[in-house]
Symmetry: C2
Subunit: 121 residues, 2 copies
């Protein structure tokens, strides 16, 4: 079914982004194109180690983020970045989200018309 036939199918809401944890991660990374440390990302998004790891691997698998392990003098540090392709796809997802918000605002303000199913009863 195409989007004209089903105006509320929202096929542009990519499932990879439409999960609360991954939405938080991508929102953080989109402003920090230089990268963020795993631990800073974890604090900002209130995710456990395991959850953040799981989300990052899901995102890395489809090329949305890249992970780099740096070894300095101290403990090794994992740097997470959103890729250029990931950024583009995420911003397209956000545009679709914006369209949903706009649709709800428009529709919520409409006067409640006679239900469309009444004449058929």
């Amino acid at each position: 079914m195409d989007s004209d036939a089903a105006p509320f199918a929202y096929s542009g809401l990519e499932r990879i982004f439409h999960e609360r944890g991954r939405l938080a991660v991508c929102t953080c990374l989109v402003a920090n194109t230089g990268g963020m440390r795993f631990t800073d990302l974890q604090d900002a998004c209130a995710l456990t180690d395991g959850n953040l790891n799981r989300h990052l691997h899901a995102l890395a698998e489809v090329g949305i983020v890249s992970l780099e392990r740096l070894r300095g003098n101290g403990r090794p540090v994992t740097i997470v970045r959103i890729t250029p392709v990931g950024r583009k796809r995420f911003l397209a997802y956000i545009d679709e989200l914006e369209a949903v918000v706009r649709a709800v605002h428009d529709r919520a303000q409409e006067d409640a018309a006679a239900p469309s199913w009444l004449p058929q009863l």
Copy 2:
């Protein structure tokens, strides 16, 4: 962790609404407070019988929608409505979604500053 400590936790994004199918269903119902026929809702959201049924029962279980089975002269018709409480909760969810969109737009336009992790290496 509270929202100050973790600005991207998005705890207001209620999981019951944060699923593409249920988001579509609630968006449809919010303008049609008089109710929609099951079949019309199905067409508008491009959901299968089984999927729409599953979503509606999840929503009905927590009082977000109500289901009414009407028997006229012809085949019985199921009318779906969003409840006043459901409407209120859904609009609060949409407000949170709007905040996410705004946050991404604001952050995506920021100049990429020096990564916060650089000095620590």
